[in-house]
């Protein structure tokens, strides 16, 4: 017997859970103060997330998918993805969108049941929140194909969860990206649960990263709770794609500290001990401990940041609550570039049936 092929999967981590350094840091982290904006973003994300959960509990928005625990993934991607690149998120990527410039009140609008939550004036080429699992990955291949065809130094970065990697869409997109060497990066955020189904029931593969091997593309696993590892690995993959080096699959290891959504109860399928253990690994504490150890972050700054975040959250909630409810005509307004005359009667029926003073808005 001879060996037809072998593979190995690189695992990238710079910060251990207790904030100590596990390896020599990449150059962007040489000055710890340079990572303070990322830290601030992560704290903002967590504050916004906590508020969104509370707003669902009080009926001010609908079902909401929490981002608790993946702040380093979102902040790291947001830090390295270029303004002209295209983000193709799943539904749990409001943190990255915030760093793309999208006002977080849009996230509240989206989960508040309003299509205007997908209007991103600050980042107009980015794709909207994507619910049908993995279906955004073929879009990323199409976006990247267009970029390559036009010889643009741009990158399509798609995000998905560990569950999505069981779908054909995931493999089909990676496979196509490999064939055409597309400027595409897929970050599979392995938070260890697809609703209730744990990672080990999703696939027998030792890593999700190695699914890129089958597509012939570069792949790497990284500690998704380590901001420096995320910035480093995603940054390398994005720049490689931008420079004609082809696609990369990254598996970011993290843990969903929240329920799947506010409609889920994770205590049905995992133990309190397991979750408590994962809280010791979480990304914000880890980065803060490291920043403290470097003398790059003070208690006073932490207190000021908490205030800033709370004020920002209040501003976003206000912007959400003050957005007037959509009129029923919105259902037809952007259905086609120009509504075919065949549907004008339905639109008229819809708008006539509305009572003038019905309040639709959750707020």
């Amino acid at each position: 017997m001879t060996v037809a092929a072998t593979f190995e999967i690189r695992f990238t981590r710079y910060l251990l859970p207790d904030g100590r350094e596990a390896a020599d840091l990449p150059s962007f982290a040489a000055d710890p103060r340079a990572l303070v904006p990322d830290y601030r973003a992560m704290v903002f994300m967590r504050a916004l997330d906590a508020k969104a959960v509370a707003m669902q509990r009080t009926g001010q928005i609908g079902t909401y998918a929490s981002t608790l625990g993946k702040e380093a993934v979102d902040a790291g991607i947001g830090a390295v993805l270029g303004k002209d690149d295209v983000l193709l998120p799943s539904y749990r990527e409001s943190g990255v969108l915030m760093l793309r410039g999208v006002s977080p009140h849009r996230t509240l609008l989206y989960w508040g049941g309003d299509e205007r939550g997908n209007v991103f004036p600050e980042s107009p080429r980015d794709f909207p929140f994507n619910v049908p699992i993995g279906t955004q990955l073929p879009h990323a291949a199409g976006v990247a194909y267009a970029m390559k065809l036009r010889r643009e130094p741009r990158v399509a970065l798609a995000m998905c969860g560990d569950g999505a990697t069981s779908k054909g869409d995931f493999y089909e997109a990676l496979n196509a990206a490999g064939v055409w060497q597309l400027p595409m990066v897929v970050v599979a955020v392995n938070n260890h649960y697809a609703i209730s189904v744990p990672r080990h029931m999703q696939t027998k593969a030792q890593t999700i990263a190695q699914k890129g091997i089958a597509a012939g593309i570069d792949c790497e696993q990284l500690d998704g709770n380590d901001l420096i590892a995320v910035r480093d690995a995603v940054g390398r993959a994005v720049e490689k794609a931008r420079n004609g080096g082809g696609p990369t699959l990254l598996e970011a290891l993290t843990y969903r500290l929240s329920d799947h959504t506010t409609a889920d109860d994770a205590t049905r399928y995992r133990s309190a001990e397991e979750v408590a253990e994962q809280w010791k690994q979480e990304p914000i504490l880890r980065l803060r401990t490291w920043l403290h150890s470097k003398g790059a972050w003070s208690q006073a700054e932490e207190q000021a940041l908490a205030k800033d975040a709370a004020a920002h959250v209040q501003k976003m909630v206000k912007a959400y609550l003050e957005t007037p409810p959509p009129g029923p005509e919105q259902m037809f307004e952007h259905l086609y570039a120009r509504l075919p005359r065949q549907y004008i009667g339905q639109l008229a029926q819809l708008t006539e049936e509305q009572e003038p003073h019905v309040e639709h808005h959750a707020g």
Binding site: P128, P132, G142, D169, M331, H334
Partner: protein, 326 residues
């Protein structure tokens, strides 16, 4: 002006669109080097290059999904699904994304793509190669569905589909690909996507048909004319949205209607058209609207396909039935 087949007209329209607009790209299985299994894309790769005529990996969901991404990023993709029977995994993308991208981003992103696929039975093809999923596509909000019946219609409607700012599913009657030729002027003129065409004028009964069934309806009309019964034949051409103005005007004139489709009967477009006629022209009707459809069975393999598909004889029989109704 050249005398060409329907598949040659498709090829001509694709070449014209690619010539006039650099953002038009063709993608699909075997569309490049091979020029398509029906030769619809023959010569395009040589003329426009491999990047604009992309042979894709074998994955229909990917093809449709990539077209969505390309379209949102400013290209005008024309994706080919090799046979309509393989389009079902692509329906996920058409339904969840192509048809709703504009709405769900409130006009921020759009999806000017075309999904072409040969459709229907009658070419003695293997299993799964003779399907008519037209109603499944027509049920999807936010898209258009077009089904030409002749070379000149195929040319003009495909140009219109490519130019349209929204997604269009373009069904091609494989049975008519090479059945007859027609003079087609390659002048880049699109046909309207919101209009049915009166293919033959008549006074006694209205036939509404599309795709390959239009030929059967015209043959039936010819046969009936010899009996002194004059059918008006409407080529619906666009299955979504349907031009009911043209259909209803004809039915109000003739008072009788037979709707013909090659697809299974239940929840078919024939049912939709019949319902609309009942709602909007009941008092003009001299007889119930008759549907001539395929049966509610699995599309049979080709030994039985002639029995499965409606033909001129069944259409003529339906016409006689509505004429005799009292």
């Amino acid at each position: 002006m050249s005398n060409i087949t329907l598949v040659e007209a498709i090829n001509l329209a694709l070449a014209r669109a690619m010539e006039e607009d650099d953002s038009v790209v063709v993608l699909g299985e075997d569309v490049g080097i091979n020029g398509g299994v029906f030769r619809a894309t023959a010569g395009l790769r040589q003329r426009f290059g491999a990047e604009r005529v992309a042979d894709t990996p074998l994955a229909e969901g990917l093809i449709a999904g990539m077209a969505v991404g390309m379209a949102a990023e400013g290209l005008k993709p024309v994706a080919e699904i090799q046979f309509a029977g393989f389009a079902y995994t692509a329906i996920d993308q058409m339904l969840n994304h192509a048809g709703r991208l504009r709405h769900r981003t409130q006009g921020r992103l759009s999806c000017p793509m075309v999904l072409r696929t040969p459709c229907g039975a009658g070419i003695h093809a293997p299993e799964h190669h003779s399907e008519s999923p037209e109603a499944m596509f027509a049920h999807i909000p936010g898209i258009r569905v077009v089904y030409p019946s002749s070379p000149s219609r195929a040319y003009g409607l495909l140009l219109a589909a490519i130019q349209d700012p929204d997604p269009v599913v373009f069904l091609e009657p494989s049975r008519l690909y090479r059945r007859f030729k027609e003079e087609v002027e390659d002048d880049g003129t699109p046909l309207p996507l919101d209009k049915a065409f009166v293919a033959r004028e008549g006074t006694d009964v209205t036939f509404v048909a599309w795709g390959a069934m239009l030929r059967e309806a015209l043959d039936a009309a010819e046969e009936l004319a010899a009996e002194g019964l004059f059918a008006e034949v409407i080529d619906l051409a666009t299955l979504k949205p349907i031009d009911f103005d043209t259909v209803l005007a004809s039915v109000r004139k003739t008072g009788r209607c037979v709707v013909i489709t090659e697809a299974p009967r239940t929840c078919s477009l024939a049912s939709e058209i019949s319902a609309n006629i009942s709602e909007q022209a009941l008092l003009s009707l001299l007889a119930p609207v008759e549907r001539v459809t395929a049966f509610d069975c699995v599309t049979p393999m080709f030994r039985l396909e002639e029995k499965y598909m409606p033909d001129a004889a069944r259409i003529a029989a339906a016409a006689r039935k509505v004429m005799e109704y009292q």
